[in-house]
Symmetry: C2
Subunit: 324 residues, 2 copies
């Protein structure tokens, strides 16, 4: 099971490989938030999102002989790029199974990071069957996106950094808002903070209408989203919390927060103007919650994890046109 | 005079106040540069540029009684915001003398950071006379933008960080490209690297047509630019190298590099796509030189200092429209 000891071990394996991201802030954002706001910019992580941490953690934890055979993942997004890059840096091969209608740029980026991309038809084929057949044939290890203890441990290293960086600033109590899809990042950070910064509480942030984690936490059991698509926050649209992540979320996190698409775009524009970082919509929902849900927050300090920045120029322009 | 000991003393005063910026990289940018490329993102510094370091260094070095009377600066740009914010954090007042036709947003931001903004008419009035009268009347200390040893020492802390961060990555030899206006940042980094990373050489980067430092270094004496305006890299358009900075540049730096406005915009778009950071044109010329002047570089590793990110949304959109 996942634990702070596993997270510390993951941090040791990531040292010198993952980037340590600083805590950013701006007096202009403090004014909007009505409190001290610190932002952890994981968009600056390798491959543009926190996913590199979990991928590196999982791959580096494999038995060397098993690792040498290569890894496989299903993803059209940030997990794909994280696994591809971490595999290449380990000198092993990776296969990423992606829908054939995934954005061309994401397919090209994943290939350029060293992965073999296998495309499937979303309508007619099952990615699980295709992936299982390739994995069996070549002896590849599946790297799951969140429901995997070593992935959770890797994402939890964000929490260790937050605890230390906040302590250096004299911050002991805070609400820590985390962009939440399947819950790997959220649960990992919560486990790290539980022992390293017990005055902090993790609160998941999601898009409205895709707030399965918020509703599951409120209802006391896993509740699925009605839909899996139809929101610009594509990086964090998962059908439901994970089987491994949900019990951790239930024990340590909540209540959840949810923001509109417009609020995510507005947060992207403010991050551009005030922090000089590039966020994707799904990576901006925690910041949006800190800025636009001030009445739902209690502490004098809020820390927002900005989880990724892989947005195309067209959508970024929309955010600037409307809110900058 | 400026020295590495002064830079170390400035670093001690800045500890816990200035942000320590990480070194970023992307395999996609390495491909374009044809070598290993590391980027020092000072756009992530407080107020969006390295200028906060020099301002903090100079203000914190003042005698407490003199400091308590307040400071004054002439600037319509990044130096204004750096001085205003550093003064406010020290609990003292600041006056910033700005031309009345400066962008409204820059005036508002400088005020919001706590400064009293005094506007003057560029055509009819002398900012030096106005500033001198206010300074005399109120006993304010002038914080110069670059020709001031404690400002150079503050900017030099960027060099101390580069030396340590590069050593952690096993990098000892590199060309370090620095966006160069009056030369405060460039000379400060060069002084720091001279003793902390003697295998590194600093090379100033400027906009074509405003490459006074490049031409001055090549000619062996200070040569002015023909014009002071008319380029989008406004943050680094100074008439000529400083009297204090030029001898340091001459001893330690060069040859200079220069890029076009289009190359600066292209570098901004690539920084958006691959590093997830926001650069202004003047803050992107070193990165542009690393990407588009590969034949003018010798070392296997190049480090580009991305000095600032205070760009308005309109100009940023131009970069995205054309190059992303």
């Amino acid at each position: 099971m996942s634990s702070v000891e596993m997270i510390e071990a993951a941090a040791a394996r990531l040292a010198g490989h993952a980037r340590r991201t600083p805590l950013l802030s701006s007096p202009f954002l403090d004014d909007i938030a009505g409190r001290r706001l610190l932002v952890k910019p994981e968009c600056l992580q390798h491959t543009g999102s926190f996913k590199f941490r979990g991928a590196w953690s999982a791959i580096s934890a494999l038995d060397p002989e098993i690792r040498a055979r290569g890894v496989i993942a299903f993803s059209s997004g940030n997990h794909a790029q994280g696994v591809a890059h971490a595999a290449t840096l380990h000198g092993i091969s990776s296969v990423i199974v992606m829908p054939s209608d995934a954005p061309r740029l994401k397919i090209e980026n994943t290939r350029a990071l060293g992965a073999e991309v296998v495309l499937y038809d979303r309508g007619r084929e099952s990615r699980e069957e295709i992936g299982a057949a390739i994995a069996r044939e070549r002896g590849l290890t599946l790297i799951k996106p969140y429901d995997e203890p070593q992935v959770i441990a890797g994402q939890g290293t964000v929490g260790l950094e937050i605890a230390q960086e906040a302590a250096d600033m004299g911050v002991e109590r805070a609400e820590v808002l985390v962009c939440c899809g399947g819950g790997g990042l959220t649960s990992g950070i919560a486990l790290a903070l539980e022992s390293r910064a017990p005055g902090m509480r993790v609160r998941p942030a999601e898009p409205e209408g895709f707030d399965d984690t918020r509703r599951s936490l409120a209802g006391g059991s896993i509740i699925r989203n009605a839909s899996e698509t139809g929101n610009i926050c594509d990086a964090i649209l998962t059908p439901q919390p994970g089987q491994i992540t949900f019990p951790i979320l239930q024990r340590l996190c909540g209540p959840g927060l949810a923001v509109t698409e417009d609020e995510a775009l507005h947060a992207m524009a403010l991050a551009f103007l005030r922090l000089k970082i590039v966020l994707e919509p799904g990576g901006a929902v925690a910041l949006a919650s800190a800025l636009f849900r001030r009445d739902a927050l209690q502490e004098d300090t809020v820390i927002a994890v900005a989880s990724g920045g892989n947005v195309d120029a067209g959508l970024f322009r929309v955010a600037l046109d409307r809110f900058a």
